[in-house]
């Protein structure tokens, strides 16, 4: 069944509109139906009954930033593997060797950051490494 681009994407568009309508509808209905009683305590952030000190916009562990950076590096690598996988039967051994040339330096980099301790999360292993 040869289809034009419009025919291929029309169902996706309708599905997206339907999903958005459902999400907006659910949120609106609960906004309209739910009764509201406000008081001072309810307007505080929930912290298991403690009185909150300051707001939540603190500095957090740099590890999360590191993970985001590493993710971008390796995910781009993974996405490059997809077109390679699709045409692989035509390339065969040539394709395999070409991909080794691409993957081996990236794996070398991976083991480098592993040895550097970028993948360690518990403080114990980091301390042991320094000794």
């Amino acid at each position: 069944m040869p289809e034009s681009y419009a025919e291929q994407y029309f169902p996706v568009l309708v599905q997206a509109l339907l999903a958005m309508a459902l999400a907006a509808g659910l949120l609106t209905v609960s906004y309209l139906l739910g009764k509201r009683v406000r008081n001072r305590v309810k307007d505080m952030p929930y912290e298991s009954g403690m009185v909150p000190t300051g707001d939540a916009r603190h500095r957090f562990s740099v590890k999360f930033y590191l993970v985001a950076m590493l993710f971008i590096l390796f995910d781009i690598e993974a996405i490059f593997l997809y077109p390679w996988a699709v045409v692989y039967r035509e390339l065969k051994m040539f394709g395999f060797i070409e991909m080794l040339v691409f993957v081996v330096p990236i794996l070398a980099g991976f083991f480098y950051i592993w040895k550097k301790g970028a993948l360690d999360w518990s403080p114990d292993s980091t301390l042991n490494r320094k000794r």
Partner: protein, 391 residues
């Protein structure tokens, strides 16, 4: 062209309605299964065997107080559940449920649309789902929510690497990104499924583990670890906004199970060809289930079983009879196999939730980067080598 639009709209509404019903009842199935694992009855007050429980839950959640706390970032706080639920429901549009069928003279595929990059579409849409959780955690301006959102985003992007590498391995075998063609390459016997190609069960296991982490399910439900983070990223959400995160989680579970079935388990294809009688499997299963249910209803262990079991038994027998109608078989049999396989994977999700404890956070991240990623990479290279040498 007009008939195309009408057929598309009908298909979309049928699929959407079915999806919403399954979403509601998946919750019921999960509560029942976990209850029976823990030797308790589970929901059984609302309707027979608690079957009206999802409806009661929806009514309760909609009429709850819809609180928007004064300290949140309002735009992002409201956008987060909206985004999560929209992205979760969108990816069903490229999932194929069956082959081409003929309805009232019109030929149509049992699929909303077949994009030629369907695998990438689903990966992209599910990555967008991370935004919902990250924004919810940040905009709530609550320490628990922020930590939960951060953990969740870090976990989801870390497990996306082994997930995409595990998906690439069956693509090496099938050589297509279209989900429909992916299934067509696995037609025929059981050993044509990608799962049974050489050592592809390694990719399957990696895919399933990463899928559990992507959908924030036990043992990877760190974002919602209630003994350390209260409720994680949705601590400050109430009523339907709170429920939409759960709807998104269940919709993602369904999508991921469908992906596992399409990539590894042959989609709607029966384990063996219809020429060898695979068409009679659903008839036998439903007939046996019907007979057992009716027999249990006639010799009840509990008093109410006498009234609740026979109707179910009759329904099972009717379903068994429907599978014998030759006109409907071409549409129902693929749908049956697809649903059976997806259901098995969904049951695995629930089963593991009832069985395993939760990871510690450093173990979780260490496992993703130091075990799953290298194993997935080596598995992909070994698959490539095996195909280059043996084909």
């Amino acid at each position: 062209m007009d008939s195309f639009i009408v057929i598309s709209l009908i298909k979309i509404f049928v699929v959407f309605g079915a999806l919403m019903t399954i979403l509601a009842y998946l919750q019921w199935v999960e509560r029942k299964v976990i209850a029976h694992i823990q030797v308790r009855p589970g929901p059984y007050r609302v309707g027979p065997h608690g079957l009206l429980q999802p409806l009661a839950d929806v009514i309760k959640l909609i009429t709850k107080e819809d609180l928007v706390p004064p300290y949140v970032n309002k735009v992002l706080y409201l956008a987060a559940p909206f985004l999560a639920i929209t992205m979760a429901l969108l990816s069903i549009s490229v999932i194929p449920f069956g082959p081409k069928i003929q309805v009232a003279g019109y030929q149509t595929w049992m699929q909303l649309t077949d994009l030629n990059f369907g695998v990438l579409f689903i990966l992209g849409i599910s990555s967008m789902g991370v935004y919902g959780i990250a924004l919810a955690g940040w905009s709530s301006n609550n320490k628990y929510a922020l930590l939960g959102g951060l953990r969740s985003s870090a976990q989801m992007i870390s497990y996306e690497l082994p997930l995409s590498l595990a998906i690439a391995a069956p693509l090496l075998i099938s050589n297509t990104l279209s989900l429909r063609k992916l299934v067509e390459t696995q037609d025929g016997w059981l050993w044509n499924w990608n799962l049974f190609h050489g050592f592809q069960y390694v990719s399957f296991v990696i895919f399933i583990i990463a899928a559990f982490a992507e959908t924030n399910r036990v043992p990877f439900d760190l974002p919602e670890a209630e003994n350390e983070l209260v409720a994680g990223f949705h601590t400050e959400y109430s009523s339907m906004k709170f429920a939409s995160f759960f709807m998104a989680e269940y919709a993602n579970m369904i999508t991921v199970s469908c992906m596992a079935v399409l990539l590894f388990l042959g989609g709607w294809v029966a384990p063996w060809p219809a020429a060898y009688g695979s068409g009679y499997v659903p008839v036998v299963i439903f007939a046996v289930a019907g007979v057992i249910t009716i027999w249990r209803g006639l010799n009840p262990r509990r008093k109410r079983d006498r009234y609740t079991f026979p109707p179910f038994g009759v329904v099972f027998l009717i379903v068994a009879a429907v599978f014998l109608v030759p006109l409907l078989q071409s549409a129902l049999l693929p749908l049956f196999w697809f649903c059976a396989k997806t259901g098995a994977i969904l049951f695995l999700f629930i089963w593991i939730r009832g069985t395993l404890p939760r990871f510690r956070y450093d173990q979780l991240m260490g496992f993703a980067w130091k075990v799953l990623f290298p194993v997935a990479m080596l598995n992909l290279l070994a698959t490539g080598l095996a195909i280059a040498v043996f084909s």
